[in-house]
Structure formats: structure tokens, C-alpha cells
């Protein structure tokens, strides 16, 4: 499917068109600037080459001219900046109701786990025409998730989540590269993103799965004893986690923060850092006791407690995987 000598990368996501348009605009602008400067240099160099008896004409300079060629480029730069910022913002803000995939990077492989429970290594299957949000973390060093055909790149850091998203538009197999140097087999940390037509994707999805990630998380929640304090019926020693995700939380020190993936992650690993108002800092840390995958499952479970039954995401998950609703807590 690859040509031997491509000059333009394939375009397979909604973001690709935006980035390409900006890139082409930049090519035109800088091409014109280059043309202007080069032709002036070449013309002057030829026209005013040294001739015997002809002296150079001294010119001191010209403030209006200096201002002109400072302000006009600055204006053009501001256009580029604004355009770039818009494209960037769009691609940094995952739409609500995206299908979620948890990504764990390690030297030197990509481990991907769909919210529906499918696990993959170095290969990610996604359907055409759906927003896919990647919740990524690393087990060791910094990696970077790069799919050239999607014009999408995000570093994957140890110790926290970073988020990226895309909306594939064309079926096919595309390169997945690690672009942050990560050691010996950095160039071997590559894989494929397989974009499938929805029907094929459903078929693929119905293959083996251990049940939705949130269900795994729920089992862990019970096994690790979280459920004894974080109760949903009566007031436990820990806050009730029903409906917490995505909502503002008032902390003991008076600050208010939004309960996002990173907050849940931090609260499991470093419970004392941001204690909810009205609770005592009594929770033990799970740092070093659970793997990144287990952590992801717990995060997915806490998130599922805030999902309205029959919400967009869960319904697609059900439809796709044929699994029972992961949202069965109550």
C-alpha cells in the first residue's frame, strides 16, 4: 500500500486536513518570502556587480522601511499563530462521548486496551467515523504517540496521563511511531493503526475480550478493599465516588479542582495530596502495589460510575462488544 517514494503523507483523520491546510498556507507564505528575498539578492548581486570606476552609492537606512518590514511580517506571523492555535486547540480537546482507549507505553512496545476490554499490542483497531480518545501513560521513560496519517502526536509520560484524540476518516493501515527517544529499540517501538469500516470493526470487536475495562476495575475495587470505605449506600470513611468524575471537587485546603483522569490517578497513588473536604487523610497509597493496567481499570471504573445508564459511550460499547453494561454498580 505504500509507494516507494511518497511526497505527501496519507490523510486519514479530520485533523489531517486542518494541519495540511495550515501547512500549505505556510508553504505559500514562506515560499513567497523566499522568492522575494532570493530574487532581490540575485538581482542586486547581478545588477550591482563591481564595475571599474563605478562606486557604491551609500544609503544610511530608512526608518519607515524598517518599520514596514517589521510590522508586515509580524502581522503575517499573527495570522499564522492564530490559525495554528485554533488547529492545536481543536486537537487538544477531545469531544465528549469519545470511545476511549487506554494506552500504556513501555520500553519498547505499545499496550492498548479498549474501554470495551479488548487488548492489543503495537496495533490499534479503530472504526472509521468515530471520535477516539487516548488516555496514555508510560511505565518507564517518556514516549510519544505519533500517527503521521492522523497528524497527531502526544508525548506519553510516566506518572501521569496525557490525552489525545482523533477521528479517522479513511480505512487503511497506518504507521504508529514512537517519536520521543526512549532507548535502544526506540525505532522498533512502532506499530499500526488499523482503521476499519464500522461493520468490520464490530466483527473484530466481538472477538475475545475479558469484559469491559470498567468491569475489571470493579472487581479490583472490591479485591483491593476500596469498596469498604468508598461506599455508595451510607457515608463511608472515603467519599462516595458516584457521579464524581468530571465534576468539581472541594478540597480540604479550600481549593476546588475538577475530578479528571489525572486526579483519580493521583488520589489512588498519593491519597494525601488532594484530600476531599470533610474527609481525613487515612487512605493508604497504592503506589507500587498495582500495575498501570490495573490503575487504568480502576480509573475506568470510577469514570463509569458517573456515566448515565444508556449514555452515548456505554451504548456504543454494548452494541460493539455485546457485553452487558459495565455500569452495574447500584
Amino acid at each position: 500500500m505504500f509507494d516507494n517514494f511518497p511526497l505527501w503523507p496519507s490523510r486519514a483523520s479530520t485533523a489531517a486536513g486542518n494541519v495540511d491546510a495550515l501547512f500549505i498556507f505556510l508553504l505559500i507564505v514562506s515560499g513567497m518570502m523566499t522568492l522575494l528575498i532570493f530574487s532581490a539578492v540575485i538581482y542586486f548581486a547581478a545588477r550591482y556587480r563591481h564595475r571599474k570606476g563605478v562606486l557604491a552609492e551609500q544609503i544610511e537606512g530608512s526608518t519607515p522601511l524598517e518599520l514596514t518590514w517589521s510590522i508586515i511580517p509580524l502581522g503575517i506571523f499573527m495570522v499564522i499563530f492564530t490559525w495554528g492555535a485554533v488547529v492545536y486547540f481543536k486537537s487538544r480537546t477531545p469531544p465528549r462521548d469519545s470511545t476511549e482507549v487506554y494506552v500504556v507505553a513501555k520500553q519498547w512496545m505499545w499496550k492498548l486496551e479498549h474501554a470495551e476490554g479488548q487488548r492489543e499490542i503495537n496495533e490499534l483497531h479503530v472504526p472509521v467515523g468515530r471520535d477516539v480518545k487516548l488516555i496514555m501513560t508510560s511505565q518507564d521513560v517518556i514516549h510519544s504517540f505519533f500517527v503521521p496519517a492522523f497528524r497527531m502526536k502526544q508525548d506519553v509520560l510516566p506518572g501521569r496521563y496525557t490525552v489525545a484524540w482523533f477521528h479517522a476518516t479513511k480505512a487503511g493501515t497506518y504507521h504508529l511511531f514512537c517519536t520521543q527517544y526512549c532507548g535502544t529499540q526506540h525505532s522498533g517501538m512502532i506499530g499500526n493503526v488499523v482503521v476499519m469500516e464500522p461493520a468490520q470493526y464490530e466483527a473484530w470487536m466481538s472477538g475475545g475480550s475479558n469484559g469491559p475495562l470498567s468491569a475489571t476495575g470493579e472487581r479490583l475495587f472490591a479485591e483491593l478493599g476500596c469498596v469498604t470505605c468508598h461506599r455508595s449506600d451510607t457515608q463511608g470513611r472515603g467519599p462516595n465516588l458516584q457521579g464524581v468524575f468530571g465534576k468539581p471537587v472541594l478540597l480540604a485546603d479550600g481549593r476546588t479542582i475538577t475530578a479528571d483522569e489525572n486526579y483519580i490517578r493521583e488520589s489512588i497513588l498519593d491519597p494525601g495530596a488532594k484530600v476531599v473536604n470533610g474527609f481525613k487523610p487515612v487512605m493508604p497509597t497504592f503506589q507500587g502495589l498495582i500495575s498501570e493496567e490495573q490503575l487504568n481499570a480502576l480509573v475506568a471504573y470510577v469514570k463509569s460510575m458517573s456515566q448515565p445508564a444508556g449514555g452515548a459511550k456505554t451504548s456504543t460499547a454494548n452494541a460493539a462488544s455485546g457485553q452487558p453494561d459495565g455500569n452495574q454498580v447500584q
Binding site: F38, V41, G61, P73, G84, I142
Partner: protein, 549 residues
Amino acid sequence: MATATTVQPVERENYLNKEHGLGSWLLTTDHKRIALLYLISITFFFFIGGLFALLIRLELLTPAGDLVGADTYNKLFTMHGQVMVFFFLIPSIPAVLGNFLVPMMIGAKDLAFPRINLLSWYIYIIAGVMMLHCIATGGVDTGWTFYTPFSTAFSNSKVIEAGLAIFVAGFSSILTGLNFIVTIHRMRAPGMTWTRLPLFIWAHYATSIIQVLGTPVVAITLVLVVAERALHLGIFDPKLGGDPLLFQHLFWFYSHPAVYIMILPSMGVVTEVIACFSRKRIFGYSFVALSSIAIAVFGFLVWAHHMFVAGISVYAALVFSILSYAVAVPSAVKVFNWTATLFKGSIHYDAPMLYAFGFLGLFTMGGLTGLFLSSLGVDMHVHDTYFVIAHFHYIMVGGALMGYLGGLHFWWPKISGKLYPEGWARLAALIVFLGFNLTFFPQFILGYLGMPRRYYEYPPEFQVLNVLSTAGATVLGVGYLLPMIYFLWSMRYGKPAPDNPWQAAGLEWQTQSPPTTFNFEEEPVVTWEAYNYDEIDAGHKQEEVKVVG
């Protein structure tokens, strides 16, 4: 130009032949001799770094990893970067041409602190020996950027040795910058006002500000990396509560301005060369001067554009993106002013001018592709790909190195007292220009196609462009060997150089070639503006002092 300073003794005693023996070189405090010590040392490191580059390009000839092992390849690009950046480019123009010329251009006998100047060379040599020892005993594989936590907790190579070598090298750079700032403030000859300074001096002044204020930050950052690696403090280690991005902030706070340490002096050289070979005063002198300072100051405000996809706040990314465009303006102003200087000039095509033309072309392309990278939207795609590699090589090799070579040719008669062979020099300039473009232009395309940097193996569809690039690197290598050969040749066989072979303005041309130890027979008194080519060419010999408009 006749001034009181061109009295020539019959024997032509000069700084080269005044004293003999190794001791007279190793204990010298003469800024010109120290410049030559630097010239020899950085040339050595240039060829070490160049050798690594050649091996990298050979490995990338085929998609599979076949020439060297993966770990070796990783060490090659790491040490190529570290050697070229810290041991060649940063000292290149300031420590060689700047050291030689700054005192002469302002009419001083020496730098303000000659012994500190010698000390800075010794520090450089100590650092260099440490780096060579590190290379010889296994090398380092972190990438020249030392990103944590890979460097502090995962790499199995000599991170501490390399970090300490670069830490030490930093002090050499700081002392050079400190010496220049004090010299430019305190040692100017009578009449050498700020507006009469050659723009080379302005460029070096701006460079020195960065060296003095930026280098200490990378020094302390490397101390923390070394301490973290040795003792597991947790400052950059997320497992212990640290933030790996803090390392990147501190590292780029220096390492982005460091690019301007490389390019600003080169801009200074090009300004001198363009003025001389178009026989004109530089168009918009004060704008060119102030743009150097503006680049130095704005250069400190943009570092996180290396981190747009690293996981920083999107709001911070916006701030750093818009500030990055601010630094592009003074660079553009310089290019426009150089172009305007050519207008109605009387242009000669000697080798230094060919390098200056080359600089103009390559720097323009390097600068404009910088706009792509500081655009948040495009950077998401091209960050950490070959697009970045191509961009910064256009700046650091196409810009800084072209300027360095141009300057070396321009001042070679003054430095060595001999003329280099002009025909060969023009040929070399042409070969370097063509070889450079063949090497690095394909990498822009590779980058947009998505080929990541620091890849030992790559998908086969990228091969054609990589082969082109490797072919270019071979041509480029020949282009760099040529000057090395004919400069050495000219030292023995070259024609003796007159005091002012280019009929150039500037105090350094008004003393003999090579200069005496104290540069001038009598302290010069400056009564003319910089770049008074009209007076030189009209043969008026400074009868009237020109008034600035």
C-alpha cells in the same frame, strides 16, 4: 587607508613569530594566540563530530539496521550532537574569531582579562578530554538533550561523565562571554562610540549576554541530573514524585538561547563581509545592531516551543508560540537589511562573499521553517521528526557554520599573514552549498512524511530520500575537507598577505598582517563611522568625518 597605526617595522615582528616554543603558546595570554589554540581544538572536535555524522548517514542508507548496532547508533547521534553543539558550534565563532577580533576591532591591546581568557581555553580542554574519555570508554546514548527520566534512571551509558564534561565546558563559555562584555564596555579606544562599533561587536555583545545568563542554568540542571542519577533524589523522577518536564523547562531555558549563541556571531560575520564586498555602509545600522540585542532578549522567552506536545499546559503553549513569532521579527529585519545593503552596491564575488550569500539563502530557509515549528498546529505533526532535524541544521550548519567559514576566509590573511587560494575557496563554497542542500532538503520532506528523528531503522518507503541525504553528506564532507587542506597549504606556500587585502573598513585592517602582540603600534583614535567604504573607495582617507543621518 592611512592612519597613524600602519607604521611597519622592517622585520615585521608579529604575534606569531615573536616567541617560539610550546611554552610560549600554552602559557600565552595574547588573545590572538588563544584564538589559534581554540581554532585547533575546535577543528579537532569538528572532525570528530563530523565522523559521527558520516557514520549516522551511512547507517541510514538502508532501512534496516546493518552497519552498526542499535546502541552504537544511539550513541553516535548523541555524541554527534553533544560534540558539535558544546565543543564546536558554541565556541566556534566567539572563541576563535571573536577572541581574535573583538579587541582589535575596538582598538584594544587585549581582552579585559587575558589570564581568564587562557583559563577558559584550559577549561575547554579539560572538558574536551573528559568528553573524549567518555566517548572512548563507551559513550552516552541519551540524545544530546539528556531527557529525564531516561538519562537519570534508565540509560546504561556514561551519562554522568558526559554531563560533567558539558558542565565544565559551560564555564569556558561563561568566561568568554564575561570577558567580551567587560572588554566591550571598558576597553574601547577613544572615539569608538557604541554607534561606531562594527556590527560584529554588537553581535558578540548580544551573544555574551546569553552565554552569561543562560549557561549557568544548564550547568545547574546538569548537576541535578548527575545527582539524580547517582543518588536517586527524585527531582526529575516521576516514580519519586518529581516532574520530568521540569528538566525540559530548565534544559531549554539555556538550550534554546544557545541556538542564538551559535547564530548571532555568524550574523555578525556576515554583516562585516556583506558591507566589505558590496563596499557599503550597512543599511539600517542601528536596526541591525538592536535586532541582535532583541534576539538575545526574546531568545529567552520562547524555550517551551520545544515542548508543545510534551504535556505542558495548552495555555502555556499559546504564550510560547506567540513569543516565538516575536523573536522571528528581528531575524527577518536582519535579512531584509542585508538584502537592502546590496542595493546600489559594488559587489565583489570573493569567497567570503560567496559564503555570505550561502548564509543568506540557508538562513532564510532555516528561519522560515522555524515559523512552521512555532505554529502550534503544524508542530503537532512535525515535532521530533526529520523536519526539525532539517530546520536546525539549516540554522546551525547552513547559518552558523557558513558564517564561521566565511569569517575564517575573510580574516585568514589577518590571522595567518598569508593569502588562501581564491579559486579553491570559491569551489569549496559552492560544494558546501550544494552538498548542504542535498543533505538536508530531503529531510524536510521526510519530516512531513512522518519519519521520526533518532530512528536506527525506518520503514522502506523513506529510503529514496535518505539515500539522497547520505549522498549530500558525502559531498558536504568533501566541501569541509577542502578548506582544511588549503588553509594548511597556505600557511606554508601562500602568498604573503598585505595589511588590508580587501580594502576593508575596521580597525583590525589598519594594523599589520599578522598583527603585533599588542595589536597596534599606538593606541588608535577613532574619528570615523563604521563601514566608511565611501571614504576608503574615494581615497579621501578620512579627511572629513561623516555625520550619521
